[in-house]
């Protein structure tokens, strides 16, 4: 049984401008100990999808579909039962560690409260566990620095604190939403390596949300590419990078700037911009920007189908590109 199984997830937001269709029928599975990277540009619905499955949508958001975590249907769980799961079995690491930490509370307070809440630990025991975890993420001088406030840490150290905080209860699933985007490149590499080591050590599954293909390549087992709230391609990480099939995935890979391109050559980009989530096209959402779109593409949205073992694609083109 998969640890996490999401089926036909739909997320809508009611706004003054109309209904924003952020996620439109997303399905995926995540096995124990596995890392799934979800890639997409801003507004592709990747962040809202994970916030939705954790029950953290904004007040105007509505979720439909099924989210099974370890056999339990999360969408039918009462609020406080879901809250008991969050931070204990499912933990989350956010993009910007500075704004993700409360500036008014010490690191110790923010860490120990997780343990007192979920494991009923006393202050002292919780403090000891928190220091251990800070050491595990290689925060130097943890016993002393735990008494500090977040602003007294550097960006990389802050993200380590956020990661340590997420791991306190040894979660089965870690959701990392752009965990390295706000960091310097050198620090990014350190944090990625740290995440990989911790995953081995604690044997957890990671759901990695990012727009950075480099980050995906470094950490994921499988990759799911999202566009306009739908999955358009899903495959093992090597397969996807070596044999990308969806025109959007191809465009993404070709847009990655390379050091070996001659100077003066313009950076490549996918022309056009994603469709408005207020008014999605009837057919394939990528058709407007797709260099190979045919009339059929604009009529019905393509369904996911398996084109090679473990390689799924949602595209009308025949034979597949």
């Amino acid at each position: 049984m998969a640890l996490l199984e999401v089926r036909d997830l739909e997320i809508r937001f009611h706004t003054d401008d109309g209904e924003v269709r952020a996620v439109n029928g997303l399905s995926f599975r995540l096995e124990r100990g596995e890392t799934l990277g979800i890639v997409g540009e801003s507004g592709s619905g990747k962040s809202q999808a994970v916030l939705g499955l954790m029950g953290l949508l904004a007040d105007n958001g509505r979720l439909r579909g099924s989210v099974r975590f370890d056999g339990e249907e999360l969408t039918r769980l009462p609020r406080n039962a879901l809250a008991r799961l969050r931070g204990r079995r499912i933990a989350m690491v956010f993009q910007d560690p500075l704004s993700a930490l409360n500036p008014h509370l010490t690191v110790e307070r923010q860490m120990t409260e997780v343990l007192t809440r979920h494991e009923g630990m006393g202050r002292r025991a919780a403090r000891r566990r928190a220091i251990e975890m800070l050491e595990a993420v290689q925060v130097p001088d943890a016993a002393r620095r735990i008494r500090r406030y977040p602003h007294e840490f550097s960006g990389g150290m802050r993200q380590r604190v956020v990661i340590a905080m997420a791991l306190l209860c040894r979660p089965d699933l870690l959701i990392a939403d752009e965990p390295t985007t706000a960091l310097d490149v050198t620090v990014q590499a350190q944090v990625l390596r740290l995440l990989r080591d911790l995953q081995q050590r604690f044997h957890m599954s990671i759901l990695l949300i990012t727009h950075d293909l480099g980050v995906v390549a470094g950490l994921s087992d499988r990759v799911l590419v999202m566009y306009a709230g739908r999955a358009c391609e899903e495959a093992g990480v090597r397969e996807l990078f070596h044999h990308p099939r969806h025109p959007y995935t191809l465009g993404l890979l070709q847009s990655v700037p390379r050091l070996d391109t001659p100077a003066g050559e313009p950076l490549r980009a996918i022309p056009g911009s994603p469709p408005s989530l207020l008014q999605l096209p009837a057919g394939c959402a990528f058709a407007e920007r797709c260099p190979r779109a045919r009339p059929a593409c604009r009529e019905t949205p393509p369904a996911m189908r398996e084109i090679a073992p473990g390689h799924h694609l949602a595209c009308h083109l025949e034979p597949p590109p």
């Binding site: 989350m92 993700a100 409360n102």
Partner: protein, 307 residues
């Protein structure tokens, strides 16, 4: 920290000096004098009075004399209350006003913050609309309307509480004036709290706290309240100074022997020294409370450091 406090207090001196200089000359620019009355006094008596209070000297000389007295902590004799010095009048009135003001302020903060938080948690739902309508009403109804209404209801119709007087600060005498003073403040604080609480609840660190599975009350009390109170605290500084020195209207209506009435009475009577004394006292209090607010900022927000 100590250095900062010292710097702040020294920095306040020029402000106070400017304030008292302006007040002194503006007071003298106003037509009339402390001993003008319907019947004009015989010139000899007028001259005697002027000499006694040094009103016969040129204005700059009076100003310098006043400054000299002030440096010794002497605010001078009251022109109107013959046998009292201004120091004595302030010493008698301030404790009364301060007791009333502190009670009103405490009530306003507790109620205002609670109501504002409640409204923020039910944003755009009935509870929110109810609190905000109440707050709007509280802000719009002036003291001089509210106080008589309170008296009419609780003293005249129901007969539960006295309509006025002080009686050595028996609690029955305190209730109505405290409510009259507090209600507009409750309304104001509730609105401030609601606004900042709504903003704080949208902050990413609140989402983190939710992702940690913390229960809602921990979320509000431990994570959201402190940052949400910052704007309230900066409002409280000057507001506390104002309310401690007494409300002219409320003290007048309830017949309370506080400091507030000296503001108006002193000005109407051209009681130069009394007006000056009250103005300087009020100014010093405002400076003091703004200083306290800055210190409170450092308590509420660890990123704030003073040196």
């Amino acid at each position: 920290m100590l250095y900062y406090a010292l710097k702040r207090l020294l920095g306040a001196l020029p402000t106070l000096f400017l304030l008292l200089t302006l007040a002194f000359f503006m007071m003298r620019l106003a037509p009339g004098g402390p001993f003008d009355s319907e019947k004009s006094l015989p010139p000899e008596i007028q001259a005697n009075l002027d000499r006694k209070y040094h009103l016969d000297e040129p204005l700059p000389a009076q100003y310098l004399r006043y400054l000299g007295d002030l440096l010794r902590g002497d605010l001078g004799p009251s022109f109107q209350y013959q046998d009292y010095t201004v120091n004595e009048l302030i010493a008698a009135g301030f404790p009364v006003s301060a007791r009333l003001g502190l009670l009103a302020m405490a009530l306003a903060v507790v109620l205002g913050v609670a109501l504002g938080t409640l409204a923020a948690l039910h944003q755009n739902r009935p509870a929110d609309h109810a609190v905000m309508t109440l707050a709007m009403t509280g802000i719009s109804i002036p003291n001089f309307v509210l106080a008589p209404l309170l008296i009419l209801l609780f003293a005249v119709h129901l007969g539960w509480l006295p309509a006025g007087g002080w009686n050595g600060s028996r609690w029955q005498n305190l209730v109505l004036p405290v409510i009259a003073l507090a209600l507009p403040l409750v309304a104001y604080i509730a609105r401030l709290t609601r606004g900042s609480m709504i903003e704080v609840l949208r902050a990413p660190f609140i989402r983190t706290a939710r992702a940690k599975g913390l229960p809602e009350h921990t979320l509000i009390l431990r994570h959201a309240l402190k940052p949400a109170l910052l704007p309230v605290v900066s409002f409280l500084g000057p507001a506390t100074a104002a309310i401690l020195t007494g409300s002219v209207v409320v003290e007048q209506i309830f017949g309370i022997p506080g400091l507030g009435r000296h503001f108006v009475q002193g000005a109407l009577n051209r009681d130069y020294t009394l007006v000056m004394g009250v103005v300087i006292f009020y100014g010093a209090l405002i400076i003091l409370f703004n200083f306290i607010v800055d210190l409170l900022y450092a308590v509420l927000d660890p990123r704030v450091r003073y040196r």
